[in-house]
């Protein structure tokens, strides 16, 4: 353990109040930054959760339709057979889709309503926590949190598509900040549309060893009047639209939070260094080279950022576990990219913040420092 490490570590850890202020300040600031990043990431993931979890590899929709949100997609039901006839297609599952109001009791919200065939192998709920995963005639599978807020459960009524459905199942992970996903039978959905022989999307599964891109290309060239995208491209398109609509607000919040958080980190490190200016000055008087003082202060700053960063991650992880249980349709997703970004920027800011007072110390007259303090 070098003299630098010893002094930096002791300066930080020995005094409990100083430790709480230094680490606590950095940890809270980085928690703010990480949490906002996690919210941003979580909201982004929620936007495409249905697409991501549909089980499909390719989405076929009405020509020009490239995402789910705020679109209407209607194609003749013959498209399903046309798609199924394409080489490399292993499964083709038609769904009906619309965005509609969902209400139960006094609770009202928006939902992606999905009409599923009775044999659907794709596009259905993926995390059924109560009841059935496949709705029967007159039944619906809805998001559990919506049901909780509405105070309803299995067997109760929920209204959408202009009629009542009996709740047959509750699902998890099917809600975002703006809407949830609800499932009814294909026939019930089609009946509400007047029985037209149409489908909204055809979800495609490909045969083993076949590239989804190649199959998508083949479908696009051989089936007329459709837009074909791999699930990845379809989700990216959905996310882009969502972020175009609401991302600016989230981004601005995120940037402000980032600046505030880093300002707090800088201030915390600056104050922690200033508190020890006299001691650093004394060391200078005794003959400690300026480089040694720099290394002690920078090590201390780095140490407080590392510990604060780890604490920040722990708190954010705890929040990401607690927040969804609090009945809020919010997911906090900590991404590796966010950790790297926040970690690097926090370290740089902390180093700069530490250099401000240390520069003053380097320029101080050691005689004055030792005798009168600073």
């Amino acid at each position: 353990m070098s003299a630098t490490w010893l002094l930096a570590r002791r300066n930080l850890l020995r005094n409990r109040a100083r430790l709480v202020v230094s680490i606590g300040g950095v940890a809270l600031a980085l928690t703010l930054v990480l949490a906002l990043d996690a919210i941003f990431e979580g909201v982004s993931r929620q936007m495409t959760s249905y697409i991501d979890r549909s089980g499909a590899e390719i989405w076929v929709g009405q020509a020009g339709v490239r995402n789910l949100h705020m679109v209407a997609s209607w194609m003749p039901d013959s498209v399903t057979d046309d798609v199924l006839a394409i080489e490399g297609v292993a499964a083709a599952e038609p769904i009906l889709y619309t965005t509609d109001a969902i209400s139960a009791g006094d609770e009202r919200g928006w939902a992606y309503v999905i009409g599923l065939t009775s044999t659907a192998s794709m596009g259905g709920p993926w995390d059924v926590v109560e009841g059935a995963g496949q709705p029967g005639p007159g039944e619906a599978v809805i998001d559990r949190r919506f049901a909780q807020r509405a105070g309803v459960g299995l067997g109760d009524q929920v209204t959408m598509l202009g009629r009542d459905f009996r709740i047959a199942g509750l699902t998890e992970g099917t809600a975002s900040l703006v809407n949830s996903v609800a499932f009814v039978t294909f026939d019930d959905f089609a009946a509400r549309r007047g029985g037209d022989p149409v489908v909204s999307f055809v979800l495609v599964g490909t045969a083993d060893g076949v590239s989804p891109d190649a199959v998508a290309l083949a479908i696009g060239s051989r089936v007329r009047g459709v837009s074909v995208q791999t699930t990845e491209a379809f989700a990216a398109s959905e996310k882009r639209l969502g972020l175009d609509m609401s991302g600016d607000v989230i981004s601005i919040m995120n940037i402000i939070g980032f600046i505030v958080g880093l300002a707090v980190v800088a201030l915390t490190v600056y104050v922690a260094t200033l508190a020890l200016r006299r001691e650093y000055g004394s060391l200078k008087a005794f003959g400690a080279p300026t480089g040694y003082l720099y290394s002690v202060v920078l090590t201390q700053a780095a140490l407080s950022v590392v510990i604060g960063f780890v604490a920040g991650i722990a708190v954010t992880a705890a929040l990401s576990a607690i927040v969804p249980r609090a009945g809020v349709n919010l997911e906090l997703a900590i991404s590796g990219e966010s950790l790297v970004k926040v970690g690097i920027v926090a370290a740089v800011i902390a180093a700069l913040a530490a250099l401000l007072p240390i520069r003053q110390i380097a320029g101080l007259d050691p005689a004055v420092v030792a005798r009168e303090g600073v």
Partner: protein, 299 residues
């Protein structure tokens, strides 16, 4: 440690420029010999600390030169001064200036590590010095757990750890009570006389006169009067050689606080060592002299 001589040669220190310039030290010269204790006294603002700082390579003189055994400190580059301070000078400050987060052993060892000692060696050396100074049972205490006297002893240990030739002490007894102040003074005297180190002390504390070989009075940045101290062989008091009663005999010079002491000394010699010299009439003379010479030591 090598025996080094510090020469201060016509040194002036001026702060600021033009009309606002303040001259803290004016054309001061001084030589400090190995093993010598020099006490610099003077009123507040007289330039004592500025002079001490220049002697310790903490400050550069505006004009003049400071030589440490022939090396002109004032001409060395800024980058070389920290090493000089680490190896050649030991600093003791009024406020102890200990690092609050380190134990006292670490406080002392750190300075040795900065001077290039390996960690374990530095710790062993710090342990030895602190133990010698009576702090062996408190090696792992934080400074906040120590009394003022103990803190100052740690500061002395830290000043000694790199085996410096010169100890520079700025008001070393100012924050200490009378008993502890005396203890620190004894320590400083031992450092000079037993270890052969030069000790320069800046202080207002009159008690330190007792241990000084030479007392300098600094006022308005200049030495007004240089006082050399001697010890009365009869009563043990410190006396200023310029003011004391002097007696030269057989090539030896003695200084006395009063004629009474001189007469007693001469009488003792004449009595062919038959007189009990344990007290040497000290108590009786003290009763007479105390009201007259209140500033001097009480033996």
């Amino acid at each position: 440690m090598g025996a080094l001589t510090l020469d201060v040669d016509h040194v002036t220190k001026r702060y600021g420029d033009g009309e606002t310039a303040v001259t803290a030290v004016r054309d001061v010269s001084l030589a400090v010999e190995p093993g010598e204790i020099v006490l610099i006294m003077g009123p507040s603002g007289s330039g004592k600390t500025t002079l001490l700082s220049m002697m310790g390579a903490l400050l550069r003189p505006t004009t003049g030169a400071i030589h440490l055994d022939g090396t002109a400190l004032s001409e060395l580059s800024e980058s070389r001064l920290p090493a000089i301070r680490l190896h050649q000078f030991g600093f003791i400050f009024q406020d102890f200036n200990l690092l609050s987060a380190l134990t006292i052993r670490e406080n002392v060892a750190l300075v040795a590590e900065l001077a290039g000692l390996k960690r374990n060696t530095a710790r062993e050396k710090a342990t030895a010095i602190l133990t010698e100074l009576g702090l062996g049972a408190r090696l792992d205490f934080l400074p906040e757990k120590l009394s003022g006297g103990e803190k100052q002893r740690v500061a002395i240990a830290r000043a000694l750890i790199n085996d410096p030739a010169l100890i520079l002490a700025d008001e070393p007894t100012a924050n200490l009570d009378s008993k502890i102040g005396h203890e620190i003074m004894r320590l400083l005297r031992g450092i000079a006389k037993e270890q052969g180190r030069s000790v320069v002390i800046v202080s207002h504390d009159q008690r330190i006169r007792d241990i000084a070989d030479r007392i300098l009075w600094l006022e308005d940045g200049m030495f007004k009067d240089i006082v050399t101290m001697a010890t009365d062989p009869v009563c043990g008091m410190s006396v200023e050689t310029d003011r004391a009663i002097r007696d030269e005999r057989d090539g030896e010079t003695h200084w006395f606080c009063s004629r009474g002491c001189r007469q007693e000394y001469l009488g003792t010699l004449a009595a062919d060592d038959s007189t009990d010299s344990t007290d040497g009439g000290r108590s009786a003379w003290r009763r007479v002299l105390d009201p007259i010479l209140p500033r001097q030591g009480r033996g």
